[in-house]
């Protein structure tokens, strides 16, 4: 019985406090277990031998160790994982980012000397020759080959006339080969690269000339593409109607030469931005910029040609890739969008910024690749039918003027914070990866509702009866969810779906008389791209998505960010997500006191995670927990 008395005496003291042990006592098994758990959570690996040795030394201060490790890359990664598991901010090839103003494809031709040669061109390029306008700069008659829109080549190549060769094409030292591509005489030719994400690594095909043996020192590109101006004049070809199909097209081209659009006719000679897709489609002055910086190379005529070697798998971070392979220019963009989210999150957690910045921060992190995207690529998807609203120059979510100009695409390992992207920026909500991953307004609102308020739209067993009611907020069966979802979705009214083009109020008022329904008929085609006939009237059209809340439509993503972080559930949702990740289980009613104390800790700490995580790691639920059965404990095992 003696041992029972002894044990009950021990029991009355309650759980062994794992953190504090007498100075001369060796750690107990559960204390070793706790240290290992903390290492896994805060260092991202098991403890090293010298770390264990330090832990074993008398006087080891576990709390100080925890404080020391509540910072740095591993800690940030631990928290980042919580949010990336919830938001899943990566997109695969299903998000097709092949923007013709962006992509330089290449054709294999025979040069005047009879040698094979590559010529780069882009399909979106305007040219002042009818034979090649919006097509390859050398006509089929000049090359002997026809370049079809789907990338196939037909015909037999013959040497190109030297005069045409020199007139239509030029040699350039491009950004993907020269680190100093912006200089007057680039000379810093890069080496092949290691295929990591830290150095630029063009695919092998981009490093060799068409003979497959000569390292490429210059690339030959259509003359128009080599232009470097940032702005160009709207070009008028004089072609008002399409050429009839009954006659051969000039130069042997297989596609009809483009005609002058109404916008071009109305704005002939006016200057447009060469960084917008519309600008490229309107001006033959618009090229790919200095060193072809505004374009992405491709090693073929394919729709999404291979461009760079990149890692496929980076679970340990882009600086520790597991592999590398040739990937397309679309993959390049998708990879770096995802990395921006990674670095955005890491920066927030490393610097212990206000966690509300996940949604409200106007800043972000950029490296050379993302800087190139924001400066020169992002606008390529603008502006489509927006020209009918005189919208030809994108008003970006990330003002290109705020992008660091000194970061080149070679600066892949250099991540720099931009404190202010502009008034429309809102944390992760206005990053390309978020907008690509969650393409529709409702998808964007839904994930924010779910990930940051821990709430879900669940329709359960509601019956959906046929109805002609367009307003989902009142439609039977739909209202249960959409009464809340539509107003949230309205915050994204001014961000195009599956894209990042912003629709400014000046060009796209939420209520637009120019897009009124006329006599019960739908407004003109351009209007229906942006204005929803279901919610228009004879007086005005309503911007798509705005019916949920006109006010929200004008507040935009920053408005949603404010609404979410101001919601009472926000703090408890942060606590819930982080706690469940660290504890490895869902929180239950029994965790209510813990959850409340952590919410208090988060709020009182200015919504900085570190104090909350510290409190969590000191809570019994994390520290003193064990999985030993009571009988085992009584048999003498150390709890």
């Amino acid at each position: 019985m003696r041992w029972i008395h002894a044990m009950s005496a021990v029991a009355l003291l309650g759980a062994v406090t794992a953190a504090a042990r007498p100075a001369d006592a060796s750690p107990t098994r559960e204390q070793y277990r706790l240290f290992r758990a903390l290492s896994i959570d805060l260092q991202g690996r098991i403890p090293l031998p010298d770390e264990i040795a330090a832990f074993e030394r008398p006087g080891f201060d576990l709390d100080a160790w925890i404080d020391q490790h509540l910072q740095g890359a591993a800690y940030a990664e631990r928290l980042r994982r919580v949010y990336l598991d919830a938001l899943r901010l990566e997109v695969g090839s299903m998000f097709n980012f092949v923007s013709n103003p962006l992509v330089l494809r290449r054709v294999r031709v025979i040069d005047p000397d009879g040698n094979p040669a590559y010529v780069y061109f882009r399909r979106a390029q305007r040219r002042d020759r009818v034979e090649s306008d919006l097509d390859f700069c050398l006509s089929p008659e000049e090359t002997g080959i026809t370049v079809a829109a789907n990338g196939t080549l037909t015909g037999t190549a013959h040497p190109i006339d030297r005069a045409a060769w020199n007139q239509r094409t030029v040699e350039v030292r491009p950004w993907w080969l020269y680190r100093d591509y912006r200089s007057a005489s680039p000379s810093q030719r890069i080496s092949a690269g290691d295929g990591s994400a830290m150095t630029l690594s063009p695919v092998a095909g981009l490093l060799m000339d068409a003979d497959n043996t000569t390292p490429t020192t210059t690339v030959r590109v259509c003359r128009e593409e080599a232009q470097t101006a940032d702005r160009g004049a709207v070009y008028l070809s004089g072609r008002l109607t399409a050429l009839p199909r009954t006659e051969p097209y000039p130069g042997g081209r297989v596609t009809a030469p483009p005609t002058d659009s109404a916008y071009a006719r109305a704005h002939a000679g006016q200057m447009v931005s060469c960084t917008s897709g519309t600008g490229v489609s309107l001006s033959d002055d618009c090229g790919c910029g200095v060193g072809l910086e505004r374009c992405m190379p491709g090693n073929s005529l394919g729709n999404d040609p291979a461009a760079f070697n990149l890692p496929d798998n980076v679970p340990l971070g882009a600086d520790q890739p597991l592999d590398s392979r040739a990937q397309t220019q679309g993959d390049w963009s998708r990879f770096w969008w995802a990395q921006e989210a990674v670095h955005f999150l890491d920066d927030l957690f490393v610097r212990d910024r206000d966690v509300r910045g996940l949604l409200t921060d106007r800043g972000t992190m950029v490296n050379g690749a993302t800087a190139q995207f924001y400066r020169g690529f992002a606008g390529s998807t603008c502006c489509g039918n927006g020209t009918q609203f005189d919208y030809a120059e994108p008003a970006a979510l990330f003002d290109p003027a705020r992008v660091p100009t000194d970061l080149t695409p070679h600066d892949l390992a250099t991540w720099r914070r931009v404190d202010d992207r502009g008034p429309q920026a809102a944390g992760l909500l206005t990053t390309p990866i978020f907008l690509a991953k969650y393409g529709t307004r409702r998808a964007r609102a839904h994930i924010v509702y779910n990930a940051f308020l821990c709430r879900q739209f669940v329709a359960e067993n509601l019956a959906l009866t046929p109805s002609t009611e367009p307003n989902l907020m009142v439609r039977p069966g739909c209202a249960a969810c959409h009464a809340a979802l539509e107003p949230l979705s309205a915050y994204f009214t001014r961000v195009t779906e599956s894209g990042w083009t912003f629709l400014p109020p000046a060009a796209f008022p939420a209520l637009n008389p120019a897009c009124a329904t006329r006599g019960g008929n739908s407004p003109n085609g351009g209007c229906t791209s942006f204005y929803d006939p279901a919610f228009g009237s004879s007086a005005q059209g309503m911007l798509r998505g705005a019916y949920g809340s006109l006010a929200h439509a004008d507040e935009g993503p920053p408005g949603l960010a404010r609404a979410i972080v101001d919601a009472p559930e926000f703090a408890s949702c942060v606590v819930k997500n982080v706690s469940e990740s660290f504890l490895g289980r869902s929180l239950t009613a029994e965790d209510q006191p813990l959850q409340e104390s952590l919410v208090t800790s988060l709020r009182s700490g200015g919504f900085r995670m570190r104090s909350m995580v510290r409190a969590l790691l000191r809570a019994d639920a994390y520290r003193a927990a064990n999985n030993l059965a009571s009988a085992t404990w009584r048999e003498g095992a150390t709890p």
Binding site: A86, M94, N96, G439, T440, R442, A443, H446, N450, A451, C454, R455, Q456, F457, V458, A459, E460, N461, L462, A463, L464, T465, P466, S467, S498, T528, S529, S586, A589, E590, N626, N627, L628, A629, S630, A631, T632, R634, A637
Partner: protein, 454 residues
Amino acid sequence: MDTRRRTFLKVLGGAAGAGIASQPLFRAFADPPVASDEFFVLIHASGGWDVTLSLDPRNERRGIIEPGSTDTIDTAPIRLWRDAPLDADSSTFEILRPSGSSLRFGPAIGALAEMPDRLTVINGLAMNTVSHPDGTFFAATGRHLAGGKPVAASIDTMLANEFGRESLLPTVSVGYPSTYVGDDLDARVSPLRVSSVDTLSKMLNRGNVNTTAADRLAVTAMLTEEARDLAARSWYRDEIEGFGLQLQALPRMLSPDVQSIFNATSLAAAQPTFFPTPAKRFQARAGVNCAFAVEAMKRNLVRCVSFSSASHDTHSNNYRSQPLIQQELFDTIAALVRALDAAPHPTRMGRRLADHTHIMVVSDFCRTPQINLTLGRDHYPNGSALVISPKFVGNTSFGRADDDQMLPANAGTFADGARAVAPPDLLATFVSAFGVNPRKYLRDGDVIRSLLRA
């Protein structure tokens, strides 16, 4: 329940001693394992398929329905597309009415049109969602997501739990929305989630130069004992017990017989019909998965194979490929049925695998009846499903979507009144076909007895 009560009960547990082991009193006891001769193939047509082109064909402009036409679809590769008038500039399709069948199909149904007697079609599924993750897990588990997380076991886990505990591979899940959630799940049936079947062979490769299989077996045996002892010392035993049970399965998994079914070259040799030349443009992976399913079932190694197809999520002008994506999937399923017809059952003399294999195909939801501004179709809270099972009545259709808006219409009187059919009903009916009480796994759903053979 507060901590004080929890503490007391653990004391009580210990005090009772012989009567109650020192483990959670509430631990559910596993049902005794059930031997089974049935196999299951569960397919998720990911992304939301356009059922107007296949299972619930619509070729008229009516209400808000805009049928697929030569304006929006590449019809050339669709074998069963026959032009029907739509308007001056474009044609829609003729609805297929297989001979001797009351079923109606769109041209994307592919080779399944040749076997209507094997098909049970469910239309007008009330998906009540247009969110990919929610629709996906609703179709697979019968419950919507809560907090973004699944709250119930998926159908493949249910079936594996009932019939697959003794199988080497209870469930192989290739991108399927498999979940392992619930109180009564055996640790052995945790789904083997893989990105593709043919990469598994590398996991099962072993070198024998420095150490041998006997050495590794000894380690496995020792670890099994360690896991058992650790579980006996544990308050929460499930994870560790599961670890131990999975260790026990390991030696069988490493046998050459198993390795060969995870190798694409071996699969192609064994089931060449699933590896046509040229390869299918969209659904080549589905072919690999079906080949694996057949070979694994022939060897009685797996109870349930579940996989997701290529995506049907055609919002823009990629809608032009929608019927081809479906046709390739349905052709693959038809090839699966034929392969099962030709394969002997591994344990039932004189029987075919087809006599004891049950296939179910569902999707996240379907697509809007309207064509959108980018010439595609968006998400729509209606759905269809397909069952090919000897337990189900073939040549049958159940449920419907209305004629003008394609919303789920009343399919009959259920326990909670007249309503449309919903995924929980389909799942309940499916599991009950094998004698399983649906309420063991499904909170909702009625058994539709008219779909089941007597």
